[in-house]
């Protein structure tokens, strides 16, 4: 190579080397930055999910405690009061004592099922359908309203954390039904098919106007919607005044 050729070689070589180095550095920097941002976003989403999960679990526990208190007062308390009255009126009549014994027996049974219900190990091992079944049984036992649960399809595995959140959304809907709707009937249908879980709960209560509810008593509903978004479920709440309310949840595994 003569001197002139070496010179031009060096010029072209440096130009190309500079181009390539710049490209590589830029490419690396942009991809790395984007990657870190995405990782951070995923971390934040995971944190939000965990926080929401803890809050949900606390709410479920609070509700359970409240239900226990009601049940002690309305159900077992009433039964024991009845037994006491029966015994006071007995005054040596053996039939009345028999009646009192039956009443005490019933209240013992109620007490046992209640204690089973609030045992944490039972609570944690319940499947979604079993937990819903217990809720439905409780409504029927306490005669709040006539509730029924139907289950179709074979259930598939859903992350326990997500099941907890799904359960809580339904529990919140049930609480609204019992407290506000004056409904006499509640039907829940759980359907598992092809990786899709669909739950439809319907009451025959007073309902509400969906258009104005979003403004007034929207907190409970928006809470349900936030949670649905968190686990990637689709929730629809439809209602008409005096036509009842329907809650429908679709979750694809």
């Amino acid at each position: 190579m003569d001197e002139k050729e070496v010179q031009s070689f060096l010029i072209i070589f440096s130009v190309i080397a500079l181009f390539l180095a710049l490209t590589v550095i830029l490419l690396f920097a942009i991809f790395q930055k984007r990657k870190n941002k995405l990782i951070q976003e995923q971390q934040e989403a995971e944190n939000r999910f965990q926080e929401e999960l803890i809050e949900t679990q606390i709410e479920i526990k609070e509700d359970t405690l409240r239900n226990v208190s009601w049940e002690l007062h309305d159900n077992i308390g009433q039964l024991l009061t009845l037994a006491k009255i029966q015994l006071q009126n007995a005054k040596g009549s053996p039939e009345a004592i028999e009646e009192a014994i039956t009443t005490i027996g019933t209240s013992l049974n109620e007490l046992r099922s209640l204690s089973k219900l609030i045992n944490p190990s039972t609570l944690n091992n319940l499947s979604l359908v079993e937990a819903l079944q217990q809720e439905v049984e409780r409504f029927n036992r306490l005669k709040y309203l006539e509730a029924s649960l139907s289950h179709t399809g074979t259930s598939f595995f859903i992350d326990n954390k997500k099941e907890i959140i799904i359960f809580r959304m339904l529990q919140e809907f049930f609480t609204n039904t019992v407290k506000h709707s004056k409904a006499s009937n509640l039907s829940v249908n759980v359907d598992y098919s092809n990786n899709v879980l669909q739950i439809i709960a319907r009451d025959n209560g007073v309902g509400f106007d969906t258009s104005e509810s979003t403004i007034k008593k929207g907190i409970g509903l928006s809470n349900i919607r936030n949670r649905a978004r968190l686990i990637g479920a689709d929730v629809k709440i439809t209602s008409e005044p005096n036509e009842g309310t329907q809650f429908s949840l679709t979750y694809t595994n």
Binding site: M1, E5, F9, I12, F19, T23
Partner: protein
């Protein structure tokens, strides 16, 4: 001839990349990258034939390289058209292909067949550069950015970006400065090593589950 050993090296690099592509074919055979297996062997065959014609039979081989330039760029356009998802990008691929075809046709008609068709090459190279940028934009705006080094398509785009980023100045500058022979070959060799090096890394690193659409 001192040039001959150096011009064998690109052939070796191409052969290595083609063999790696064959060995790891199972990892990407369900994605559109599968065409690169055939494309790499096609490249190797063309270069082999070109080297044979040029050095052994001592025949002018520019027509072969011109044909290869046109087919290879058309292949890249086709591939980018199938992996780019946005409709706008797909339309731009058609536009770039149209411009490229016009330039190629013009060169075929008005340029001698015994010289290399520079404008065809530069138009194609610029278009491929634009398409690699589109592809990177698409990768950056999806979750795939997290696993990008396991995606074969990322390595192919990187290879093409770096190769043509170097080839364009080499081609355009060598017209102005008297620049042929050994130094030209050395730079070409370096660029070829980068191109086939990236391909090879891609074939070795890629994971099957990330090469599906």
């Amino acid at each position: 001839m001192e040039i001959q050993p150096l011009s064998i090296i690109p052939l070796v690099l191409e052969l290595t990349a083609a063999i790696l592509a064959t060995i790891y074919f199972g990892k990407y055979k369900e994605s559109t990258e599968k065409f690169f297996l055939y494309f790499l062997w096609y490249t190797f065959m063309v270069e082999l034939l070109g080297a044979y014609l040029g050095y052994v039979a001592d025949v002018k081989n520019f027509w072969l390289y011109n044909a290869f330039t046109i087919t290879s760029f058309l292949f890249y356009f086709y591939w980018y058209h199938s992996i780019l998802e946005s409709q706008l990008f797909k339309r731009l691929v058609f536009l770039l292909s149209a411009i490229f075809l016009i330039v190629a046709a013009w060169s075929l008609v008005y340029q001698s067949w015994v010289e290399y068709h520079k404008f065809t090459f530069i138009t194609g190279a610029l278009s491929v550069l634009i398409l690699t940028l589109f592809h990177f934009y698409q990768l950056l705006n999806s979750d795939e950015v997290l696993i990008v080094k396991y995606k074969l398509s990322f390595w192919i785009s990187t290879a093409l970006l770096l190769f043509y980023m170097g080839m364009i100045p080499l081609f355009s500058l060598s017209g102005y400065i008297e620049f042929r022979g050994l130094s030209y070959l050395v730079i070409l060799l370096i660029l070829n090593s980068i191109l086939y090096g990236c391909y090879s890394i891609g074939f070795i690193w890629t994971k099957k589950k990330y090469n599906r659409f």
